[in-house]
Every structure is written in structure tokens, then in C-alpha cells.
């Protein structure tokens, strides 16, 4: 027997009425993404700014003053002068500074001699990520200073020292532009899975599912009627998140809206499918929430390449990332936001999403029974 449209429509209407009356679904679809976006957009940054730097100059002179002034003028550093390296190291040990720039007594002499002036750079490696960024910045300052000096001296740029760095795709080198597209994938994972898993668990808790099951309704009608309203809601949350990203955080959106909408729809289906699958096992909202977070959000957070680079993971973990739907969506979003419609990236990832959506929805349908056991 085919699904009866009247029954599916009746269930969908009920779902929308409930969404309107009980704000918890709206909170998951709109308020939670907004809070996460604001939190990550404003609060979390992988950029090193205001790095506390100790500068030790053993024999100050005009040259060292000129060089260290570069750090004072940089937006990335907050420089403090120390008289000797021991003091600076103590400051680092007590976490008062993040790095030390150490110009030894022979700095100016060796520089003038053209013998290659050594700069001691000591970086607090506790936070490896920041450490690498600081290291890079210091080198940039050094290279920039050299180039400026050479230019001022009228000698023209020295090819052997010239560093030509060009940043592509994220020209302002803001980690926000890279994080927010990934974050949208996280949010959509959570909304999609949590929304369906929770509302179905709620029906179990309140005993309404039991009442539904004894009516003429078919199980696939129940699933369809859950899928459509929460798809609409999830896509609404998605649209809001994209709007916040572009208009509030100024993240560029270089790809086409239609491509974004189509790939988001695929991902949303996969997330909702996971939610439906969870709802088959979890019959109360607490358990459903726990499973949704552990089985969907955490893997998406850790294994999607959103923060942690997949390429640098061990081979086994890299293999596991292939079953995390968010991984494909993160790749698509980062490319759509920062690069544009790069088809060689979008097409294979979209195909993977379609496959995962089909698998999750198929499993949800196959395991759902019009029975309590």
C-alpha cells in the first residue's frame, strides 16, 4: 500500500503545530546555532594576537633598536624588554610571556659583517598551535625588516633573502573565515540529528507513539512526516547561520547559493537520517540527546577536518573519518565560502553525502517497526 497523503499531511500539520507551541524545537534549530556561532565567531580564534613577547638585547644600539621596534609596531605582539635571558626565561616559566627574542652581544657586529646575524627565538611550546604561528610571525617580521632595510639602503631587494608570501583564499589570514564554514557543518549535524531524535523520543515518553502505532498509519508515513518538517526547520537554521556568517562576521561566500543550498540539503538528509536511526534505539529524550551528541556531534567536531587537519591524522583515524558525513560537508563549505564553486572538490564530496544520506535513511526505514519490541 502506498503512503496515504492525507495521513502524512495530518502528521506534518501536527508537527508544525507542535513546533509553534513548544519552543524547544525552534531553540534547537535557531537559538543554539546562533549561540554557537557567536561563541566561536567572537570567542574562539586560532590566530595569534597580542602574543606576549620578551625581548632581550644584550648590547643595545641603533640597529637592535630598529629591529625590535618592528615588534612594538606589530599588531600581533605585545613586547616587553628584559635585561638578561635568565629573567626572560623565568618570565616564560611563570607564563608571563609566550616567547623570547634574544639578540646576543655580537648581533650588530655579525650583521654588519654580513656573516648572518643569529637571533635566538625561544617559544613556549605548550600550545603547539600558537607556537607554530608565533614562529611564523617572527620569521615574517625578520624577513620584512631585512627587505625594508635593503630597500632603504638603496641596494634593492636581495633575491637570496626575499620571501614572497602570498596568502590565497583567506586573504585576511583570519582563522574565523576558516572556522565558521566548518562550524556551520557542526551546527547542522547537531540540529539535524538532535531535532529528530529528541522529538521522536518525546513521543515515546509521552505515550503518543504507542497511540499512533495502533492507528491505520504506516511506519513509513510516521518517518516521512518527521523528516519533512525538521528538514524545513534545519534548512531554516542553515540559512540563518549562513546569513550570520556573511553579514555579521564578514566571511566571504564565493560559491553559488544554489550549490550551497543543494549540498546543504544532502547533508541535512544525512543528519536527519542519523537522528531517525537514533530514535529507533533511544526511547527517552535524555538518552536520545546523549547518543546524538556522542555519535554525531563529537565525531563531526574531531574528525571532520573542521579544526584538526585530517591529513595529519594517523592512517587508521583517517580511515574512520570517511564515515563521518560532516567531513564531506566541511570540505564543501570551506571550498564554497573561501574559494568558490570548485567542482572537483564539490562533486565527489556531494556524491559521498548523497550516499550517506541514502544509507542512513534506508537503515532508519529498515529498522523501524510498527511495534514496541
Amino acid at each position: 500500500m502506498k503512503p496515504a497523503p492525507s495521513r502524512v499531511l495530518a502528521l506534518m500539520r501536527k508537527e508544525f503545530l507542535q513546533i509553534g507551541r513548544d519552543p524547544s524545537a525552534l531553540a534547537i534549530a535557531f537559538v543554539m546555532p546562533m549561540i554557537l556561532l557567536l561563541l566561536f565567531g567572537y570567542g574562539v580564534s586560532l590566530d595569534a594576537r597580542n602574543v606576549r613577547l620578551a625581548i632581550v638585547v644584550e648590547r643595545p644600539d641603533a640597529l637592535t633598536a630598529e629591529f625590535t621596534a618592528e615588534f612594538d609596531h606589530s599588531a600581533y605582539f605585545r613586547a616587553r624588554r628584559f635585561l638578561d635571558i635568565q629573567q626572560a626565561e623565568r618570565a616564560m616559566a611563570t607564563d608571563k610571556v609566550d616567547g623570547i627574542i634574544w639578540l646576543r652581544a655580537d648581533f650588530t657586529r655579525r650583521f654588519d659583517a654580513g656573516a648572518g646575524a643569529p637571533i635566538g627565538v625561544i617559544i613556549n611550546g605548550v600550545d603547539a598551535n600558537t607556537a607554530r604561528i608565533v614562529e611564523g610571525y617572527v620569521q615574517q617580521v625578520w624577513a620584512g625588516w631585512l627587505a625594508a632595510r635593503a630597500h632603504a639602503a638603496g641596494r634593492g631587494p636581495q633575491p637570496s633573502l626575499a620571501v614572497t608570501a602570498e596568502v590565497r583564499f583567506n586573504r585576511s589570514v583570519s582563522s574565523r573565515n576558516f572556522l565558521i564554514p566548518g562550524l556551520i557543518a557542526m551546527i547542522m549535524t547537531l540540529t539535524g540529528a538532535l531535532l529528530t531524535a529528541l522529538v521522536i523520543a518525546r513521543e515515546w515518553e509521552r505515550g503518543t507513539m504507542e497511540a499512533l502505532m495502533v492507528t491505520r498509519v504506516r511506519i513509513r508515513e510516521i518517518l516521512l512526516a518527521k523528516l519533512v518538517p525538521y528538514f524545513v526547520l534545519g534548512m531554516g537554521g542553515m540559512a540563518m547561520s549562513v546569513a550570520l556568517a556573511v553579514y555579521l562576521f564578514g566571511v566571504p561566500l564565493r560559491g553559488g547559493i544554489a550549490v550551497l543550498a543543494a549540498t546543504s540539503a544532502l547533508f541535512m538528509l544525512a543528519a536527519l537520517g542519523m537522528g531517525l536511526l537514533i530514535s529507533g534505539v533511544a526511547r527517552n529524550q535524555f538518552v536520545a540527546g546523549q547518543i546524538a551528541i556522542i555519535a554525531t556531534f563529537l565525531p563531526a567536531f574531531l574528525l571532520s577536518g573542521f579544526v584538526f587537519d585530517i591529513e595529519s591524522m594517523p592512517a587508521v583515524v583517517r580511515l574512520i573519518t570517511h564515515v563521518v558525513a560532516a567531513r564531506y560537508f566541511v570540505a564543501i563549505l570551506q571550498s564554497l565560502f573561501l574559494a568558490g564553486d570548485i567542482w572537483p572538490v564539490i562533486l565527489p564530496n556531494a556524491a559521498a553525502l548523497a550516499l550517506m544520506a541514502a544509507i542512513f535513511l534506508g537503515l532508519a526505514r529498515a529498522t523501524a517497526r510498527k511495534r514496541l519490541d
Binding site: 500539520r13 505515550g207 503518543t208 511495534r371 519490541d373
Partner: protein, 594 residues
């Protein structure tokens, strides 16, 4: 109607068996149920909580698989074609299966769509159902804001939206006030009479059996009896008496319960109801010692007598042991001086936002008295209780327990209170021994005193055989005994019991009340809430609560006497309850009109 064409009874159960896996254990919920029910009958599925009633309902509705056996509904085997059965069946699960965010009308629309009720026939059907349930004026009200009784009727209306041939109602009267209960039975009478609907009605209230055509009596997953309620009571003919004597009915009841040839003795209607082992007449002169004026008046048997008679043989051993410990479990401390009020409640009010849960409640309980709070779910009993235990501050009003003002000295007052919560609130993962040890330590007992008290509890509540069993695995009656033992560890002078007997079988209930009577005799003041009307009669005094207010307070006899009318010379407690609630509703309506 298609029903006329096919053959077969409304319901046929053959060797129905179903077990569940809970943790590592297998629990047999139903074991070998055989029964046949005729079309158009009201079939009562009767047994205490945990008997297997809901499992049987779900099996019949095709929501669970059978382990063994066969179920046919209207001649269709459920396991083979659940959809065909579901198309002709109406099922109202516990808690009514309503969408509480939707209005009355929206719930009806939803179920009408799900049951493929043609649009053209809906206005008539809705009008009919709304009239029948009295929900007409509330069509746009959100279901969650309806009272328990109205929810029950809306649930029923949704189930009936497409007239089912077989209607399954799973404990529709639990937590519903007696007035709504009575109205539900009127609707059921209507359905079977006018539409020929077969109704399967599950309940833990034994008194509802007498309204059914056939009764399936189940207990611990087994069928104890199957037949008309008349047949059940007929076999008890000549075995029931009302006993009276000058020694006071509570003492008389304790002695009669232990007397030879007596299988049951409970307080009812101002007398002690006695059920004899056989039809051989009881000799009033020699039955109990110390009551030479004992008179026994034969009375008509009731359904509960038959249930108790059937349960007794299985638990004869336990009973002998229980009665050896009679008459009274005593607490070591001397009785409190009688007369003075131990619990005093004056103008007690509790508001939650705009909602007033308890409104201007006044009562006083004397030492050694058993005081009952009677009311449906949501009447304000539990809120009152929590305030009395110092767990919830009152919005206004005075509360004195054991001479302490609960607003200023909650801690010392609590030290004198024993509290047994409605739900099993012991540590389910601990053994009986560890629970006793834990609760006695919590109450400050240690060393020899603690050992003595635990020994007392083990002997008094007959827990020795189960000392090392995990509390979770105990039978319900045992759990309840353990809970009471834990509440009594610190020898409280006041005992608060919140719905202590819900879900336990009639025998365990009797045993429980025997202990409570013993405690009261030893001077312990007992405050108990219940929704079992007949239990109200075991109290010295009681208050009937509805919507946060005390409607009437007095002895059970006085409350019943006030309900006497020409057409109702001997009202039951339920009659009295309904009369009181109806009078209050009428007064409120008159007040609103004026």
C-alpha cells in the same frame, strides 16, 4: 458492518506467553493465558500493577510479539496481520496518548485523519463525541491544560473517532477522580449497548470488576480466574460477614485476621468485614478471645473476597508467619500522650506562579491517630505532604509538626518524621542489608544501637530470607516492606506515607495496613494519602481534597452519613466522595453566577 460477516469471538487467547529481558534477567510477564471473550461484552482485565495487564493489551494490539501462543481478534490472528486488526481496533494507552500541545479540536482532527474518517462524516461524529464526553465547550483548549478526567475523556474520544469494533482501554481510571470514573463507565455502557462494541478494560481497582460482563483476573502473569463477576462472588456465598464488638474495630480486625477459619478481615463501613475459609458457619462466641459480645451478620460477598480467597493458598505460609508476629509491631519508645495535636496545619497555601496547588488548608492530627488525605491526582495531596516534610516552603500559612514550626525549625522536626515516598526510593542496586545499614546510618544510628534496630527491622518485616537480595529484584510487596522498615529506622513519632499501597496486591495491602495499625496503636501518628476509596475507611479521620482545597473533613462514618439520601441509604466512600465534589462544584457555579 463487516463484523457481522466474519466469524469468531471478539477475542481468543491461547497459551499466551511473553517474557522480557531486563538487565541480565528474564522476567516472565505473561505465562499461559487462555481465554475467549464474546462480542459486545465488557471484559475486565483485573490485577495489581505488574500483573501483566499492559503487556497483554499491547500483545492484543499487535504492538508486541508473542513468545508462544496465539491471539485472535475478531477471528484474525494478530501475529499474521496486525494491520488488519489495528484497522478495527481502538486502543487507548495509559496516559491517553494525547498530544498535549494540541487543542481538543486539533487532537480530534489528527486522529480523524490518521483513521481515514471521511471529511463529510466528521461534523456529526465530532458533535456526537463532544456531547458524550462533555468536552463541547473546550474545543479550542490545549489538551495539556485539561484536568485528568477531561484528558481521559479526550483520549477516549480520539480512540472512538472511527467507531472501533474492539476497544482496548489500558488503566483508564488510574489517577482520575471518582466523578470522571463514573462518567467513563456510563460512556462504556453506552458504547456496548448502542454500537455492540467489545471493550477490554484493564484496572487495578477490584471494585470495577463488578461492572464488567466477564473478568480475567490476572496475578503475576498467570490467569487466576475467568468468568462473570457474579460467578466469582457466587462461590463466596455464605462466607462473608460483618463483625461488630465493643473492643474497637481496629483491635477486633487484628484479632479476627488471626482467628482460625478466617481468611480475610478488613475494616469496611464501620464494621469488620470477615471472610470465612468455607461455608461452615463461624461461631461468634469462640472466634476471638476478649470479645464476648462479638456479633456476626452475614453479608453479600464482593469481588475482592473472591480475589483474596484465590490468592490465599499460594501465600498461606507467609500469612502464618505474619500472624505469628501479630498483633502489633511496636516501636521501642512509649506512646505519645494522646489528645494533643502532633500535626497542626493552619491556612496552608502554596502557589506555583499563577497556579495555586494548595489553597487555605487546615487540619490537625492527634498523637496515635491515622489521618488520611483522599483525592485524585493533582488534588494537592503530594504538595501538602512535601510542605509537611519540610521539603517545600509554604507560600503562606502555619505548619507545626511535633511541636516545631517547620518554617523556623525544619531540621529538628524532620528528625521526628519517617517518610515513605510514593515511588520506590531506596537504592535499587544495594542489597536489603545494605539499604537498612545505610538508612540507619543516615539517621545517626551506630554501633550496638544500629545493630539492634536492624535486627528489629529484619524480624519485624520478615526480611531475613531476602537479606542479600538486591533491592531491585524484590517482589513489590517486599520492596514496600523494606521501604517502611527504612522509614522507621530512627523510631519516628510521626509517619508520612505517600500513596504507600499503589501497585501492591490486596494481600500485601492488608499486611501493610496491619503494620500501620500496630504502629498507630503504639502511639505513632500516621498521615497517609491514598486514592483507594476503601483504604480511606481504615483511617480514624480523613480529609477529601480536590483542586487544592479540603472539601470535607471528619471520620469515615460521618463523611458517609452526610451523603445519605433516600435513594442511597448506605452510601460507599466513593458515593460520599462524589457527593462532596459535586456539591463543591455546584457551590462554585452558584458563586460564579451570583
Amino acid at each position: 458492518m463487516p463484523a457481522a460477516a466474519d466469524r469468531g469471538p471478539a477475542l481468543r487467547l491461547e497459551g499466551v506467553r511473553r517474557a522480557f529481558r531486563a538487565g541480565g534477567r528474564v522476567v516472565t510477564a505473561l505465562d499461559g493465558i487462555d481465554a475467549v471473550a464474546a462480542r459486545g461484552d465488557v471484559i475486565g482485565l483485573i490485577g495489581p500493577d505488574g500483573a501483566g495487564k499492559t503487556t497483554l493489551m499491547r500483545l492484543i494490539a499487535g504492538l508486541l510479539r508473542l513468545d508462544a501462543g496465539r491471539i485472535e481478534v475478531l477471528g484474525i490472528e494478530v501475529a499474521r496481520d496486525p494491520l488488519a486488526v489495528q484497522a478495527r481496533l481502538g486502543y487507548m494507552p495509559q496516559r491517553f496518548g494525547l498530544y498535549e500541545d494540541l487543542s481538543v479540536g486539533e487532537n480530534l482532527d489528527l486522529y480523524a485523519d490518521l483513521q481515514d474518517v471521511p471529511r463529510a462524516s466528521r461534523p456529526d461524529r465530532y458533535a456526537q463525541l463532544l456531547t458524550m464526553t462533555g468536552l463541547g465547550p473546550f474545543r479550542s483548549r490545549i489538551a495539556g491544560q485539561l484536568s485528568g478526567g477531561m484528558k481521559q475523556k479526550l483520549g477516549l474520544a480520539c480512540t472512538l473517532i472511527r467507531p472501533p469494533e474492539v476497544l482496548l482501554l489500558d488503566e483508564p481510571t488510574v489517577g482520575v477522580d471518582p466523578v470522571s470514573r463514573r462518567e467513563l463507565w456510563q460512556i462504556i455502557g453506552h458504547l456496548t449497548r448502542d454500537n455492540g462494541t467489545t471493550v477490554l478494560f484493564s484496572t487495578a481497582y477490584l471494585d470495577e470488576a463488578e461492572r464488567c460482563d466477564t473478568v480475567l483476573l490476572i496475578h503475576e502473569g498467570r490467569l487466576l480466574g475467568h468468568g462473570s463477576p457474579g460467578a466469582f462472588t457466587a462461590e463466596m456465598a455464605g462466607r462473608s460477614y460483618f463483625a461488630t464488638a465493643a473492643i474497637g474495630r481496629r483491635l477486633l480486625q487484628a484479632r479476627l485476621a488471626a482467628a482460625p477459619g478466617v481468611i480475610d478481615a478488613v475494616i469496611q463501613a464501620g464494621h469488620v468485614r470477615v471472610v470465612a475459609e468455607s461455608t461452615a458457619p463461624l461461631d461468634a462466641a469462640t472466634l476471638v478471645a476478649g470479645a464476648p459480645d462479638l456479633r456476626l451478620a452475614p453479608t453479600a460477598p464482593r469481588f475482592e473476597d473472591a480475589f483474596v480467597a484465590r490468592l490465599r493458598p499460594a501465600s498461606a505460609g507467609r500469612r502464618a508467619a505474619a500472624q505469628a508476629a501479630s498483633p502489633a509491631p511496636t516501636s521501642a519508645s512509649p506512646p505519645a500522650p494522646a489528645g494533643g495535636a502532633v500535626i497542626e496545619v493552619t491556612h496552608l497555601t502554596r502557589r506555583f506562579g499563577a497556579f495555586t496547588a494548595v489553597k487555605d488548608v487546615n487540619f490537625a492530627v492527634a498523637g496515635g491517630e491515622i489521618f488520611g488525605l483522599l483525592g485524585a491526582n493533582g488534588a494537592g495531596k503530594s504538595t501538602t505532604f512535601r510542605m509537611l516534610c519540610g521539603l517545600l516552603p509554604p507560600s503562606s500559612g502555619g505548619l507545626r509538626v511535633a511541636g516545631f514550626d517547620l518554617r523556623t525549625a525544619a531540621a529538628p522536626a524532620r528528625g521526628r518524621i519517617g517518610y515513605m515516598a510514593q515511588k520506590f526510593s531506596l537504592y535499587a542496586d544495594l542489597s536489603v542489608r545494605h539499604n537498612l545499614r545505610f538508612f540507619s546510618s543516615v539517621y545517626g544510628l551506630a554501633g550496638a544501637a544500629q545493630r539492634r534496630r536492624i535486627e528489629w527491622a529484619v524480624a519485624e518485616f520478615e526480611l531475613a530470607s531476602m537479606l542479600d537480595a538486591t533491592a531491585r529484584d524484590l517482589p513489590l510487596g517486599f520492596k514496600q516492606r523494606l521501604a517502611l522498615a527504612c522509614a522507621l529506622m530512627h523510631e519516628p513519632r510521626i509517619l508520612f506515607l505517600d500513596e504507600p499501597t499503589s501497585g501492591v496486591d490486596p494481600l500485601a495491602r492488608r499486611e501493610f495496613w496491619r503494620r500501620i495499625n500496630g504502629l498507630a496503636a503504639a502511639g505513632v501518628t500516621v498521615l497517609v494519602t491514598t486514592h483507594f476509596m476503601e483504604e480511606a475507611e481504615y483511617c480514624d479521620r480523613l480529609a477529601i481534597m480536590a483542586q487544592g482545597e479540603i472539601l470535607v473533613e471528619g471520620t469515615p462514618d460521618a463523611i458517609k452519613r452526610a451523603a445519605v439520601r433516600a435513594d442511597r441509604p448506605d452510601p460507599t466512600m466513593e458515593d460520599a466522595f462524589i457527593a462532596v465534589v459535586e456539591a463543591a462544584t455546584a457551590a462554585a457555579a452558584a458563586g460564579a453566577a451570583a
